[in-house]
């Protein structure tokens, strides 16, 4: 394995942990991280803090470029993998570069899920995944006072915290499929509503958004089933969906994400997946579960790294911490984060 | 009764009055008595006088060797340059001031050895300089080494067993290089040199005068006066100097015919 090329697709927490784990356990492996975004590895869950002005851009960054150089980990930013050929064991980047790999860890994370009926209003809604998104929030927040958050996933909760600290008026429209892939059960829904209202957020009844129009450069009009609102920013937070379209015809088993066993291995030798893009098999439950959140991502990245080097660590997911929901199983240690 | 002295004095006076020797410098030539160069020098001087060229509008460019000393003995502007480079320097002088009449003067070493690479180009450019190549087939000034025109078997300190390389034929080279006026002459006949020079000076292009001469000090075997007088003869009466092919034939067949070998008449300036 040492002389072979270990490639990690993605530059998020799972990907970076995988890279570091590989380096810690193999001093001479050739390791490359290929990240689609042009930003150095940052803590995504801290973006709301950055928006709130409590963190600088440097604080977002986990490691300096020099760090990776010293570790001998090659980092390739702003470069997208468009195809993987598991037979030839090659992947292709969007500028037609072909990279051979000996071992591969797919940790490309997820992208914002926008429900179909809202996709038409894409350019009027802000999401929050990257520092570029955060920059947009910062710029627009300097001009407006109110924000309508539609959906209500993890990110939206921490963002709300940030918006409140900036003394913005926050209106929250909690949706059934907000915590996708966890449909909100009533109990959970009430709990969240209560928490939000206690902190000064206007929680409004869920209704379907029918139309969104820009009224002026500081005002957006949102028309739902039962009311019409005017706000400064419309934020859409409907959870993440694994960003694995590029692997569609590669031969991997893909449901929503990449299907892997409890050792995070795919059907191909020396090919693993970790983090938000993976669906992990639980031998006890005999089904696949999806990981959410920063800590999980790091944990999975570590395991993938170790196993790629020959380890046989299985993901420790005790049944108690798994939510049982209709057909979808989630490991939710995030609950304590908010 | 005029004394011998008085006759002489009056003679000298007459000569001085005629100014015919004004072309000559104060300094006396340093060549060995009997050197062929005296004859050439006389031919050159007479040509200048006969053409009535203003002395200050004549430039003699010379190289290194006994031949190169010529210009010190002629009262014109002179440029005594380095060995073998007479022709390019003369090219510079003439191109800079076409009003000047430019003579280039050098020996067979100067022209055929170190300077051999310049002859083709001054010929093809048809620069209007008049080149006198003094060919005594020896390096006299450095005391007797063979030259590119020395015959095979010539013995010298530098070639004790005799030379083994074939000699170059300067006239043939001149024709091959396309010189537009080629004359071969003999230093023992200064008048013929004068006549040829007059024609060459008036020729609107490059003219080369290949002049056989003798080095009395170092060549006692080959180009002695006796031998040269025996070998040298004029070109046939029917020789047509405008016929290049004939010129080649003549020169290939006959090494010692003298006269105007070739003269091109259709010069496009």
């Amino acid at each position: 394995m040492a002389q072979e090329h270990c490639v990690i697709i993605g530059n998020g927490p799972a990907a970076n942990q995988a890279a570091l784990t590989l380096r810690e356990n193999s001093s001479d492996a050739r390791i490359t991280i290929v990240g689609q975004e042009p930003f150095p590895h940052y803590r995504p869950h801290l973006l709301p803090e950055y928006i709130a002005g409590r963190l600088s851009q440097e604080d977002l960054c986990v490691n300096t470029p020099a760090f990776y150089k010293e570790c001998g980990i090659k980092v390739r930013l702003g470069q997208k993998v468009v195809h993987v050929d598991f037979n030839k064991r090659e992947l292709v980047l969007d500028h037609k570069e072909v990279i051979s790999f000996g071992g591969l860890i797919i940790a490309c994370g997820g992208k914002q899920r926008i429900p179909e009926h809202l996709q038409v209003f894409d350019d009027l809604m802000l999401t929050l995944k990257t520092p570029a998104d955060a920059a947009q929030w910062i710029e627009q927040l300097s001009q407006v006072d109110s924000v309508l958050i539609v959906g209500g996933d993890l990110t939206s909760l921490s963002l709300t915290k940030a918006l409140l600290s900036l003394e913005k008026r926050v209106i929250f429209m909690l949706n059934e499929d907000s915590f996708w892939p966890v449909p909100l059960c009533n109990e959970l829904s009430e709990k969240i509503k209560h928490m939000l209202t206690e902190r000064g957020v206007e929680v409004i009844k869920a209704g379907r958004i029918k139309r969104v129009t820009r009224v002026s450069d500081r005002s957006i009009e949102v028309e739902t089933d039962n009311k019409t609102l005017r706000v400064g920013i419309l934020g859409a937070f409907f959870g993440m969906t694994p960003n694995v379209k590029f692997l569609a015809r590669s031969g991997l088993d893909i449901e929503r994400g990449v299907l892997v066993d409890e050792y995070l291995q795919t059907r191909f030798d020396l090919v693993y997946a970790a983090g938000d893009c993976a669906q992990v098999y639980h031998p006890t439950i005999k089904d696949y579960w999806v990981s959410i959140g920063y800590q999980n991502a790091i944990n999975l990245g570590k395991i993938a790294g170790l196993n790629l080097l020959g380890g046989m660590l299985s993901v420790d997911a005790s049944p108690e911490s798994i939510f049982f929901v209709d057909g979808i199983i989630v490991n939710t240690s995030w609950w304590t984060e908010f | 009764m005029k004394t011998k002295g008085k006759v002489l004095r009056e003679g000298v006076h007459r000569i001085k009055e005629s100014r015919v020797f004004d072309i000559r410098s104060e300094a006396l030539p340093t060549w060995c008595p009997g050197c062929g160069y005296f004859g050439i020098h006389q031919g050159l001087n007479n040509c200048i006088q006969k053409l009535g060229l203003a002395h200050h509008k004549v430039v003699i460019v010379s190289g290194i060797g006994c031949a190169g000393r010529s210009l010190f003995f002629t009262r014109t502007y002179g440029l005594h340059t380095v060995h073998g480079r007479t022709l390019p320097v003369a090219t510079g002088v003439k191109t800079a001031n076409p009003e000047l009449t430019v003579f280039a003067v050098g020996g067979d070493g100067d022209g055929l050895a170190i300077g051999g690479g310049h002859l083709p180009h001054v010929a093809r450019r048809n620069v209007n300089v008049n080149y006198l190549l003094f060919d005594n087939s020896i390096y006299g000034l450095t005391k007797g080494q063979p030259s590119p025109s020395s015959p095979v078997g010539m013995k010298s300190k530098a070639s004790p067993s005799g030379t083994i390389d074939k000699p170059l034929n300067a006239t043939l080279l001149a024709l091959t290089y396309g010189a537009s006026f080629v004359a071969r002459l003999f230093a023992g006949d200064p008048d013929s040199i004068c006549r040829a020079l007059i024609e060459g000076v008036q020729h609107p292009g490059f003219s080369i005068f290949h002049i056989y001469t003798s080095c009395v000090t170092f060549d006692k075997e080959f180009k002695t006066w006796a031998n040269l007088k025996k070998w040298v003869h004029p070109l046939p009466q029917d020789h047509d100097p405008s016929d290049l092919r004939q010129a080649f034939d003549r020169v290939l067949d006959d090494e010692f015919s003298v006269g105007i070998i070739y003269k091109r008449t259709d010069i496009d300036k």
């Binding site: - | 430039v59 002179g78 090219t91 001031n97």
Partner: protein, 591 residues
């Protein structure tokens, strides 16, 4: 007004239009009012293949040297561009074709070589060019369009230059190029709208003369013409050939002639012959050709005949490195040739000086009746700077022959020993002053003479004459705030630009450092140099040669050993290397 100081490279294969693209950048930036200094590298061999790199430093203040690092790289051929990656600065920008014709393996890829902080602008050049103009011929212009848009250069700036350059090639070519450029520009604006960097803010027009782009060779050519050159005799040799070709284009219309001789010896011979006859002539060559000329140069010294010789130095010895720069001919220029043969050697440091010193060379040659050698080098000859079109005043151009008075007719002595050492020189055609010039040692009347006293006197005369030229030669120029200096940096030729940049940086950091520019290599201003050296603790002499040829010449003047900094890389001296040494010397001096 923020400081603009950007180094832009275009890299491609021969045939990609690399050099043309670089040239357009230079012109556009010059039109925009920026200072430009550009130096291209070509394939070493003549035809077909090889890497072309254009390198342009663009700024809103005067530029005197190239920087080591490149900020923007435009790749027209990724495989070639890979070689430029080690020279990229931090956070540099790369423009490359994101849809090449064939797939590239990681080990041959340009992008795989780059640091993660490099800012990538991948655009499908081929596709954009084909879509807009139906051909990929204008691909290099598409890349330029992308570059121009991203860097905030106004659209019309480049368009204006493209129109100017390609108008003569016909409407079809012009339109292809304009469309290709526009398409690249528009594509970049559309796809990278959030990443536009306004680097090239056009400086406010302060007025002043319009600037033109000139290479060192062009400056030399123009200077010769302006100085009334009538005859050029030369032989092709890199990097001097462009001078001959420039003159061949321009001289005939002015009644002059360019004559290609059979070799360098013939060239210098003809130049001497021409000056002897009173007409200004010139030849230009490089090291190997110059070596051939030395015999005749000393002839000019002995016979006191003027000549103007340009020695465009290149890597040596012998055939050496024809397309690389070096400063290793100083010894040859000053001392080359047999005997004690003093002559004037002058070395410009930039394009403007290439012009003015070439003009000056003719006057010096005529007045001091000596060959004058102007030492340029490959870098200086081929680099392009923008400057106001150089012109020469009447007094700079006028003839300087020292002619004999009429009273001397009949008793004229060509090599008269005078106080200045300069003997009035008659020209052929002048009645009453007949003389012969000779390379033999001679008396005052020019008659060959080998006697001991005569040789001593004449040798001394010739030396005194040349020393007397100091008054007419440019004095060393100091760049410092005066007073005592920890380090004094002395240099010559194109290296001085790098020295000036390093010295300026050092001074900006508060170091007590100064620079001294030497342009008169021989004779040199010993007392001025001594006065400078006496104020410096350390003297540093950086040169592009192995042992330090200027250091050899003037090092003795300093009270202790001078510090030599030498490089023979064939490339211009990087200012950073000089700065590093300066800082080291200051630090060592402090201890």
């Amino acid at each position: 007004m923020p400081v603009v100081d950007v180094t832009v490279e275009v890299c491609g294969m021969a045939g990609d239009g690399t050099i043309a693209a670089g040239g357009l950048i230079n012109e556009a930036m010059s039109d925009g009012g920026f200072s430009v200094l550009a130096f291209d590298s070509y394939p070493a061999e003549i035809r077909g293949f090889g890497r072309c790199v254009t390198r342009s430093r663009i700024g809103n203040e005067e530029i005197v040297a190239l920087e080591d690092k490149t900020h923007v790289l435009i790749s027209l051929n990724d495989e070639q561009a890979r070689s430029r990656v080690p020279f990229l600065s931090e956070n540099s920008m790369i423009f490359f074709d994101s849809n090449p014709a064939v797939y590239v393996r990681e080990d041959k890829s340009l992008v795989s070589e780059l640091d993660p902080e490099t800012i990538l602008f991948g655009m499908p050049f081929n596709d954009i060019a084909t879509a807009s103009a139906g051909t990929t011929r204008g691909r290099n212009l598409t890349a330029l369009g992308c570059f121009a848009a991203i860097c905030g250069a106004p659209h019309d700036l480049f368009r204006g230059v493209i129109i100017r350059k390609f108008k003569s090639k016909g409407e079809k070519v012009l339109q292809t190029n304009l469309r290709s450029f526009d398409a690249g520009f528009d594509y970049a604006l559309e796809h990278f709208s959030n990443r536009i960097k306004s680097i090239f803010l056009i400086p406010d027009k302060v007025g002043g003369p319009k600037k033109v782009l000139l290479s060192g060779n062009q400056a030399i050519g123009k200077a010769a013409i302006d100085a009334g050159l009538k005859l050029y005799f030369g032989y092709p040799i890199t990097p001097a050939t462009p001078i001959m070709e420039y003159l061949a284009t321009h001289l005939p219309a002015l009644g002059g002639r360019v004559i290609q001789m059979e070799d360098e010896i013939a060239s210098i011979g003809a130049v001497l012959g021409s000056f002897y006859a009173g007409t200004r002539a010139m030849t230009a060559t490089s090291g190997p050709g110059f070596a051939l000329m030395t015999e005749l140069i000393t002839h000019g010294v002995m016979a006191e005949i003027p000549a103007v010789i340009i020695n465009a130095q290149r890597g040596g010895p012998s055939t050496g490195l024809p397309t690389k720069t070096e400063q290793s001919d100083l010894h040859a220029a000053v001392f080359g040739g047999p005997g004690d043969s003093p002559r004037i050697v002058i070395a410009p440091t930039n394009v403007a000086e290439c012009y003015h010193y070439t003009v000056k060379s003719f006057q010096l040659a005529e007045k001091y009746q000596t060959p004058v050698i102007l030492l340029a080098d490959f870098y200086l000859d081929n680099r392009v700077e923008n400057l106001p079109m150089p012109e020469a005043s009447e007094s700079e151009k006028s003839g300087s022959n020292v002619l004999p008075e009429n009273s001397l007719k009949g008793s004229y002595r060509r090599y008269e020993i005078t106080e200045s050492g300069i003997s009035p020189r008659a020209l052929p055609g002048m009645e009453g002053f007949i003389f012969s010039a000779t390379g033999l040692e001679h008396t005052q009347t020019g008659v060959p003479d080998y006697s001991p006293e005569n040789h001593m006197l004449m040798t001394e005369k010739r030396h005194r004459k040349i020393t007397g030229a100091l008054g007419d030669l440019p004095s060393p120029e100091e760049f410092s705030s005066g007073g005592k200096l920890d380090v004094g940096v002395i240099g010559w030729g194109s290296t001085f630009g790098s020295i000036l940049e390093a010295v300026t940086s050092a001074r900006n950091r508060g170091l007590r450092v100064g620079g001294l520019k030497i342009t008169s290599i021989f004779p040199f201003h010993e007392s001025v140099i001594r006065a400078f050296m006496n104020r410096c603790s350390e003297i540093l002499i950086p040169e592009l040669n192995y042992a330090g040829q200027l250091a050899n010449l003037i090092g003795y003047i300093h009270s202790k050993d001078v510090v030599r900094l030498n490089r023979v890389t064939g490339t211009p001296f990087p200012p950073s290397a000089i700065l590093e040494k300066i800082e080291y010397l200051v630090q060592v001096g402090d201890e």
